[in-house]
Assembly symmetry: C2
Homo-oligomer: 101 residues x 2
């Protein structure tokens, strides 16, 4: 099976029962999923986007984690934010504005 | 914010609406979450477990991905499987029996 070079995780605040109830969801993270999928295709990135349950960084929500960079981003609440983060990823860099320190 | 050294992702087959419906969920992946959380504590691992939506490897479900190892595991359907995988993680190795090749 082909594994993605970059694995992008976006918190959608799923509870164990499946409900989306937390901070990241309330701030609209789920709405960004289709946009990110399209951007991965448009940019030709070898990347996969996966939605997640709570990543326990709710103060910084919406939260995105990118492996293998091992980078944690917060306040990823707009298409502009996604663009900035993916621009950095393409340059093998990090988007300083959204880093959770 | 403290970031975990190991980030363990377990597919719980969340759909975008939140329902858990896919292969990994049907094979009981969700039931392993509390066990994994306890094992992380018992073993003193610097690790975080996060449940996810579909990781598009349904043929191999239940699917677990561990970063920063970047390892994809399949058929993670029992506590014994979890033990074998975490034993390997502690040894900085991979659990060959469950590797998705």
């Amino acid at each position: 099976m082909e594994k993605p070079e970059h694995h992008i995780f976006l918190c959608a605040s799923f509870r164990s029962g499946g409900d989306s109830q937390g901070v990241c969801h309330k701030k609209g993270a789920g709405n960004l999923l289709p946009y990110i999928e399209n951007e991965i295709l448009d940019r030709g990135l070898n990347a996969q986007i996966t939605s997640t349950g709570c990543m326990k960084a709710c103060d910084h929500g919406p939260v995105m984690v990118i492996h293998s960079q091992g980078v944690w981003y917060g306040n990823v609440d707009s298409e502009d934010a996604v663009d900035e983060i993916l621009d950095a990823l393409e340059d093998d860099a990090v988007a300083e504005n959204f880093l959770i320190s």
